[in-house]
Symmetry: C2
Subunit: 389 residues, 2 copies
């Protein structure tokens, strides 16, 4: 097979492989980014899916080809929420519905990155996005994530290399769980507003702050940002309903590239999502989701406290789905990954998320597993660690 | 905006623009590739959409992230149909579910085309696919479509330039309506089997032959083919359920590129489609679709016979959705497009489908419009043509 040169640049993601491994009999997984499927409102989505067929003219139009930007009432709802909850001044005209965030990253890479272009990313950063961008051959520069957000000195230095894009997750970052502090948000917005580099602000976990939003998006303070969002983490990933909010000057090119790449996103899913939002109180729904994730996070934290030795450190997340763990400096977390796998527990090694270092890190997802699995899984983790180093 | 160099290569498609224009008040459209929305089985799809929620465990898994290749029972059904109806010897392992054919073309371009690579296409060829491939910067070589399929002498000559891909639609081609003859299928298969060039065989209209399949796919005679299919033309385009069948040696790279570009296709739509196929007799369903398209095609042909002057020629389709029209040599069909638009009829000029020539051609879709619109639309077309040249 004579594949294109760009395929040589794709980095391996592990993500889908780990999803496969996680499905093996008796396996417990803390490895993936899967939300808790017990929290999906199957009845509510079923009701929404029934209602979109009630009017035959509506059903026919929904099943027909649609427009490039996607379903208008859904885009209006997202725009309204952006204005009200996030202080982001956008209209539905800036919003493109896309088959999940991953396709947003592919489109953005396609639109901006030529092989060898510089691009800034969080270090550690979200592996799925790095994989998506990697197909277009950028040179990644990693910016260290401090406890309050990106190291802005490193960011300013990296901007001197004239990068096209800066990809970052300001809320409950995957994998580190870190959220930008208010000061860091302002500082990043100021830095970006005087740069030609466009920030790709991934807000996948923005609605999953246990005490509400961690802070306003950088996009609320500067226009030089593509803001991506998704219903995957809070409503359903299988429906693949994501979106991106693009600066006005990008609108025409985005039209062209979405048309060229997919014609338009799935209109059936979008209409079902739109009806779900009409028939339910999203804020009340999100409060239930956040409460349950907070509870499960607390459960895992308590168990880790009880069973793991003091030389291992981890954070206390205030949102999202992940606990970020650090073994003592110099220890190889891949050995813990291997040892845990033998005990039928899958964890996610942190190294692949990093541009530099990260050998001693591990990401644990507390969202996917049920309570009993969390209990048993932490036992397996402790047992896998015991005597390893 | 500092877009990537590849964006400079994207050709304009008109398709979505024409869909927008077609929605204007009082406009009749023969321009797009939209199926007849009156033929969508809204009740059957509603029933399928209800049934996927009946078992809560099934519903939860359906709404969760899925696997890269897509929903297994649906892939099994497609594989079984390929073996039974098309003599294509594939297993579900060769099948990747994709969000519509357009995304297949984007993936294939991404996997194979480096800027400047040669690529062979039908001339005229399907514009949406040409647009999709164009983002990756190939040099297109057009192969003239004769009445019985591609000019194989031209094809053999074009293969001397060592092209990576050959994109073609052997059944009821868009836009020309031409199907390969049995001899031409064999000949193309022989030519491809001794070439390193991979054929991309687009079977979007294969199920829409009025008297059944026009012939076996080239893929049934040689393995050196990527076969793409879709439910868009016969069940629903808004659900974006397409697929591609790849040679064994492409499987790993396709896994990587699908994951990188979208994680996986919409599992909700796929499950609804799978239930629809379980609950309905697809062959009986397709017979009704074909019969109605044949009737509407006949209606438009009769009206054209009655109202248009003899110097205009057109084909008699035996499948698909399009009548392909040729004005007298040297006449510019864009003038007829403009004149018709003033009378509130949208037709599709043939020029953009061509690598060479085609100035005098026009594509008419008889599927989208209702009977009364077809009657009124042909009147407008005749009136727009009158006195124009």
């Amino acid at each position: 097979m004579r594949f294109s040169k760009r395929t040589e640049d794709v980095i391996d993601s592990f993500i889908m492989k780990l999803i496969s491994v996680s499905k093996e009999e008796g396996m417990i997984s803390f490895a993936t980014g899967l939300p808790d499927k017990r929290l999906f409102d199957t009845k509510g989505i079923a009701r929404a899916a029934a209602s979109v067929f009630e009017d035959i003219d509506h059903a026919r139009d929904m099943l027909q080809y649609g427009t490039i930007k996607g379903v208008l009432p859904l885009r209006e709802k997202i725009a309204a929420r952006c204005r009200k909850e996030m202080n982001v001044n956008v209209s539905e005209e800036n919003i493109f519905m896309i088959n999940g965030s991953q396709e947003c990253f592919d489109l953005i890479g396609k639109m901006f990155i030529d092989k060898g272009d510089n691009m800034i990313v969080d270090d550690p950063g979200y592996l799925g996005a790095l994989q998506s961008f990697s197909l277009y051959g950028p040179n990644f520069t990693g910016i260290r994530m401090n406890a309050d957000g990106p190291d802005t000195l490193q960011l300013m230095n990296a901007l001197k290399k004239d990068p096209k894009l800066y990809y970052s997750i300001p809320n409950h970052q995957n994998p580190s769980g870190i959220s930008y502090s208010p000061d860091r948000r302002k500082e990043v917005a100021e830095i970006m507003s005087s740069s030609e580099c466009i920030m790709v602000e991934d807000d996948a976990y923005g609605e999953l702050g246990y005490e509400g939003r961690a802070g306003p998006p950088v996009r609320s303070m500067t226009d030089n940002v593509i803001l991506t969002g998704s219903f995957s983490k809070v409503i359903s990933p299988g429906m693949r309903v994501g979106w991106m909010i693009v600066p006005d000057e990008m609108e025409d090119m985005t039209m062209k590239c979405v048309e060229s790449s997919s014609l338009h996103a799935n209109t059936f899913s979008q209409h079902v999502m739109n009806s779900f939002l009409e028939q339910n109180d999203l804020d009340a729904y999100l409060r239930r989701q956040r409460k349950e994730y907070k509870r499960k996070c607390g459960l895992m934290l308590d168990l880790l406290d009880d069973t793991l030795p003091k030389e291992i450190e981890w954070n206390t997340p205030n949102g999202g789905m992940f606990i970020w763990m650090k073994l003592a400096e110099g220890r190889d977390a891949m050995r813990l990954f291997d040892s845990a796998l033998k005990k039928k527990l899958v964890v996610m090694p942190g190294r692949p998320f990093h541009i530099n270092g990260g050998m001693n890190t591990i990401r644990l997802n507390f969202a996917t597993a049920g309570d009993e699995e969390i209990k048993e899984g932490v036992k397996r983790l402790a047992s896998a660690y015991g005597g390893l180093f």
